[in-house]
Amino acid sequence: MHLNIVARVLGILLMIFSLTMLPPILVATIYGESTSSMFALAFAITLIVGLVFWLPSKRVTAEMRTRDGFVITVFFWLVLSTFGALPLMLSETANLSFINALFESVSGLTTTGATVISGLDDLPKSILYYRQQLQWLGGIGIVVIAVAILPMLGVGGMQLYRTETPGPMKDSKLTPRIRETANVLFKIYLALTLACGLAYWLAGMSAFDAISHSFSTVSIGGFSTHDASIGFFDSSAIMSICAFFMVISGINFALHFHVWHDRKLSHYWSDPEARMYIYLLLVGILITCLYLYYSGTYGWSESIRQGGFHLISIMTTTGFTSDNFSGWPTFLPFFLIFLSFFGACAGSTGGGIKIGRMLILGQQCIREIYRLVHPNALLPIKIHNRRVPSRVADAIWAFFGAYLAIFYLMVLLLLASGLDYVTAWSATAASLNNLGPGLGEVAINFAEINGFAKWVLCWGMLLGRLEIFTLLVLFTPTFWRN
């Protein structure tokens, strides 16, 4: 472990992050709000702390090792969540305590979308914008952004990149150089955001809402500038645009790159993970719509509209709502949240366990059954006609086990803090899967639950975003032993 390098990179990243507090000042100026000074203060604090980290070690040139990568990424998310909470804490209108501000900030950066604020519609626009921007930065991973724009992260960039990218295959690069890869991902992200924002605007949102919601849609975040979320607009066009971009953002960005690079749409269909994702979405929508109709919740058209939108929103782990889905017949809310465990595709901005992992797990289960019938058969697991290395398969099982263990540990902790079972279960799923809304007490927002539960959920969101092991590795003695 090289503390110098860690401090240097952390310092630089913090200084970059401090810049993200400048756009809200612009927003405040446009809307004539009095929040500018507060954002300026937050900017100054973050910048100075960054400088303090960076200055003593600015001349260090040693190479970044794998371990340093873990430390930097984890610390960066921790530090960032803390500093990201600054403006929310400083704001008088939002009036948040430290843990509430932290919860909001973590929820933003991890693209969870759970909020503790009620009365969003009355908040200053600059603060609303800031929340959306947090999600956007967290969506692709601010480290990826940093790798894309910082030439100095050169070789070491891979170590960072690997710790932050979601999905089972972390070594695959789109281009030979990591910086190019990060660049490509960033550009795709940017293009999707622009397209989404434009579509929203054309569909009738105000420019402010269009930009804000494009941030939280493409990042699969789920923050909204209104308490009623997407339901506020009450427009089928906006709901379908939102659904479309959620589906697109839930697909592996590498796949987007290949489609764009080869100008071949059929890549989406030939990729087993994307195909599975689309199948699951279609089957899920079918079940939800039929159940909504036959249980008499809605009429036909409303069943399809609400059912389709919510299924996409929950399964991709975005968490936008247009209606109170927790009030639907009990099967449906649980069904939707269950699907959020599958989440989106690996290498996308979505959360959950990821379809890619589920696919390999499923294949392994089928293999065991097959093996009972043909005891002597050699049965490699294949994805896209290529054998999945057993190392990857092992890692996925371990991940799956750890995911479940942590899930139930969190549920127990929440139960211990006094929440009821439905709230505890759904809140844990909502945080660990980076989903957002839960059921029971947390169906609307997370303001009412106790402080301890919020701490637990903050950790849950970070564990989910960093895919557990990146965070857990720092808590093992081996990591710190020299």
Binding site: T66, G154, V155, G157, M158, D171, K173, T175, P176, R177, I178, R179, E180
Partner: protein, 460 residues
Amino acid sequence: MKIVIVGAGQVGGTLAENLAREYNDITVVDINEQALRALQDRLDIRTVAGTGSHPNVLVNAGIEDADMLVAVTSSDEVNIIACQVAYSLFHTPTKIARIRSRNYTNPKYKAKLFNDNHMPVDVMITPEQVVTDYIQKLVEQPGALQVLDFADGSIQMVGLRAVKDSPLVGQQLRTLKDHMPNVDARVAAVFGKDGAIFPTGDTVIEDGDEVFFVAARNNIRKVMSELRRLEKPYRRLVIAGGGNIGFRLAKALENDYNIKIIEFSTERARHLSEKLDKTVVLNGSATDQDLLLDENIDKADVFLALTNDDEVNILASLLAKQLGARKVMTLISNPVYADLMQGGAIDIAISPQQATTSSLLAHVRQGDMVSVHSLRRGAAEALEIIVHGDEKSSKVVGRAIGDIKSPPGSTLAALVRNGEVIIAHHDTVIESGDHVIVFVVDKANTKAVEKLFAVGFTFF
């Protein structure tokens, strides 16, 4: 530049490392996934597992928009096919193949065989031959640490260690002219105890400094005598290891030197004895003290350890030195070992990858580079560049060397104009078509040098 390298062995790996450092887009292809993973962990490159001559694998590696294919697997045939596939299916502009077998490179067949109509290999490299040439020059120039040829050998750059009590040591560099009024030479770089010293007229060379100078080939020995006591030409060589390099070296030198070659394998030794006429072929171990003593190792001028095993080379060299060999030169491919042994009992550590990589780098660089030599384990570089353009489009043509703003840490050492060697002075004017020899102390500045000599559309 987008480059696909086929083969992740020693040559491929070192090449990938060098090229990736220079911000090229590198993809390495190999069948050995483990070797690929090791490279991927260390370098910012992409790797593809598969047979390097298969079109599908090459497509995965991005051959379609690659600027260059470098096929350096251990199999000549795979290398040739990879080039053929790249040419026929993907029109890759530059194709370089490693060809080991002399049967292919035999001048009788070479020109007919390797052309765009038959086997489209643009550049052939034979690492063993490159290393052999490198060693041969060291043997021919006693006292030199490194000898580099420029402009087909008419001009040479020699690196050596300055020894006290020689005429120039302790003196300012500008006195060089007074010492040798008839000889023109230029010191390109001095590496002292505290790293590189940029040579000016006031620079004083001290005992133990590593000095690189440039002179016409026939003046080299005179200049060397200024820096260290001139050594007698070598006569008796003992070579340990009769592999490709040992054999080629013996073959090249056996008419002028007294050579004994020690080979462990009986079969190979028999083969060597048939192919070599004057060389004494000994069957035995290079680390066998009795054998070395019997063969008068204490009378040997140079002991060359050239087996393909670093550890054996090092041990044999240490033993030979202890038993009284005057000079030992050792082939060490592991850079860590080379660092360990440098300046100890081993006089010259030869890095095979460095020699091979040098010969490839010239093709990767921008501008019209004739050759690139990697020095001091890749830290420094000596470049031979052909100057193009006119006074308008080039930053150097028509200007005196003193007026050219050369990048920091680079020295314009000499130039060759129509076969005539001109040692660079501050009033020498560069013309179009000159071969310029530039020494770059820190490789990081190579890009700036390339830019300086590039015929610039940057100007318009």
